[in-house]
């Protein structure tokens, strides 16, 4: 019997971000939490949600216990409406068919820029990370939801490298660079839900998860967070949501 007071940070992330999705949307989802959250949303409140995968998949049905190891394997294609070339599914972003791009993040800054390429100076990196994949394309061309763990080392004032663009240097810099559409919409963490100021494009607090304090959030963030005028409090994950997630990922591949 799942307990509603006993859930992992990853389960909290999946539940909170799934609630941001709306019926009828087309969601370009990465593997891990985004895939779980999109499937959860589809199962519980968005039967008309369509999932796209970077490998080249339109509208698959994810089988419980058979989560794909990336968005490029046959498990991603099960009961899909269509498979197409990876280039062509990515071009759907550019054409404007995608309502939400949904990714995880390793490092994010105050303007929502994501780094998954380098720690340290790119010319002489301390750590070479795996890189963008389709992340840059998704973040360049769609409204974004990012789900990630809230830690000070992950929430930094400026990322070492902008792999996937948020609002770049804030203000109008994203549009000025030629990125005409899309941008960061929400960042969902295990502490709360965050948005971006319409003018400055700096990250602010939209809602806190139950029991989380403002001080706790600021302590775990490497830059000063603005507060939206009224900060909400989210509702804790329900039994139904947790049960669904645990059936989907019984081996705790992504929810440990």
């Amino acid at each position: 019997m799942p307990s509603t007071t006993d859930y992992t940070a990853s389960e909290l992330l999946a539940v909170m971000s799934s609630r941001l999705l709306k019926n009828g949307q087309i969601v370009f989802a990465g593997v891990g939490i985004p895939l779980l959250a999109a499937t959860l949303a589809q199962g519980l409140h968005c039967p008309g949600l369509t999932i796209l995968f970077e490998g080249g998949v339109i509208g698959p049905v994810i089988e419980p216990g058979k989560l794909p190891p990336s968005t490029n394997e046959q498990r991603c294609t099960i009961r899909a409406n269509m498979v197409l070339a990876s280039t062509d599914v990515l071009l759907l972003l550019q054409r404007g068919y995608v309502d939400v791009g949904f990714m995880g993040g390793a490092q994010i800054d105050q303007y929502g820029n994501l780094n998954s390429s380098f720690i340290g100076d790119p010319a002489k990196p301390k750590t070479r990370l795996p890189g963008t994949g389709g992340g840059n394309d998704i973040a360049s061309l769609a409204q974004m939801i990012v789900a990630m763990k809230h830690e000070k080392r992950r929430f930094v004032e400026a990322v070492d490298f902008v792999t996937s663009p948020g609002f770049l240097h804030g203000g109008t810099t994203r549009r000025d660079s030629g990125l005409a559409a899309g941008g960061m919409y929400r960042v969902v963490t295990d502490l709360g839900i965050f948005g971006f100021d319409d003018e400055t494009r700096r990250m602010n607090i939209v809602a806190l998860h139950p029991g989380v304090t403002l001080g706790q959030v600021q302590d775990n963030t490497g830059f000063e967070l603005a507060s939206a005028p009224d900060i909400g409090v989210t509702e804790r994950p329900t039994e139904l949501e947790l049960e669904f997630l645990r059936k989907l990922d019984p081996e705790r591949l992504y929810t440990a």
Partner: protein, 318 residues
């Protein structure tokens, strides 16, 4: 006037015998068709339809200084770097797979400057192969602008669109010397049919100067002609055909087998613990050691192969 490089690109196709003829060879003979220093496009993506047997044969043939290009790179990239066959990987993502974290083999080679990892967005890789397949020098796109990914890419140009004034990124065509592509079936002439995800393979095949096909099985030309709509790569693009069952192991081939997850767990823990010694140990035991690809499969083990095959076929049960 057309540029000399464009005419040269065309002439590379015309020097090959493009008649409908048999071109079935051994893995070793196919490996001999790839020369040191060439640019090699690799089909499939991440853990899917990776031409693993062909890469295995190239490493055994002690190829050097290859530049390899693939949409998304997994453990075959470790093999290519770790063996010294490749010193430059052009790709959008490079690690064994998200569930195994960051590849220490990739990190070791890139961070010590032993090899290069040129990062492009996935769509940019796709557009570069597509431009190559179209016979044009570039294609415009709207992503990568403003990011640091583009700052590290001297190959691109930003322009204001001559029609609309929109800012666009031009990415150059990528025409590999050779493409390595694994498919579920093809005939002896190289008419290739693939099931499931195509990834960037069709553009890659048409962009490359020549294609080496590996296939789960060779079927008759009659069977190909009964369903020509299923043929995705035409025979005249193909230089050699090699029949290699389980030719993607330990990765997957859609509808035939899933990845051998237990072997991938074993492999990643070995090389991520010790990217130099562990990689050398793996290459010695699994790549240089066996007498043949079947010998490699023997080392993977029948139980793992059968499990992967059972899971692979289940894709059509849902």
């Amino acid at each position: 006037m057309a540029s000399s490089s464009y005419l040269e690109l065309r002439s590379k196709l015309t020097t090959r015998d493009r008649s409908l003829h048999e071109k079935v060879v051994s893995l070793e003979a196919a490996a001999a068709l790839v020369k040191d220093g060439e640019t090699v496009g690799i089909g499939g993506s991440t853990l899917s339809r990776t031409p693993m047997a062909m890469i295995w044969a190239l490493i055994r043939a002690r190829k050097k200084r290859l530049t390899c290009a693939r949409g998304i790179t997994s453990s075959e990239g470790d093999w290519l770097f770790g063996s010294g066959a490749c010193d430059r990987m052009v790709t959008s993502w490079f690690s064994q797979g998200i569930v195994w974290g960051v590849s220490k083999v990739m990190r070791h080679h890139v961070e010590t400057g032993k090899a290069r990892f040129d990062e492009w967005s996935h769509m940019a890789m796709g557009m570069r192969f597509r431009a190559g397949a179209m016979g044009v020098p570039f294609l415009p796109m709207r992503s990568m602008l403003g990011s640091d990914v583009v700052r590290l890419r001297p190959e691109v140009r930003e322009i204001d669109c001559p029609f609309t004034g929109d800012k666009l990124l031009l990415v150059p065509a990528l025409n590999p010397d050779v493409a390595l592509i694994h498919v579920q079936r093809c005939d002896a002439y190289g008419n290739a049919q693939m099931d499931g995800l195509q990834f960037l393979d069709i553009d890659l095949a048409m962009a490359a100067n020549r294609v080496i096909l590996t296939t789960e099985r060779i079927v008759s030309n009659d069977q190909i002609r009964r369903a020509p709509d299923q043929t995705k790569i035409p025979f005249f693009a193909v230089e050699a055909v090699v029949e290699v069952p389980f030719g993607c192991a330990p990765h997957e081939c859609s509808g035939v087998y899933e990845p051998l997850f237990r072997h991938m767990d074993y492999y990643t823990s070995l090389v991520n613990k010790d990217p130099v010694g562990g990689m050398a140990e793996y290459l010695e035991r699994y790549v240089y050691g066996p007498q043949s690809w079947t010998g490699y499969l023997n080392l993977l083990g029948l139980d793992q192969l059968l499990e992967a095959a059972r899971n692979g076929r289940s894709v059509s049960n849902a």
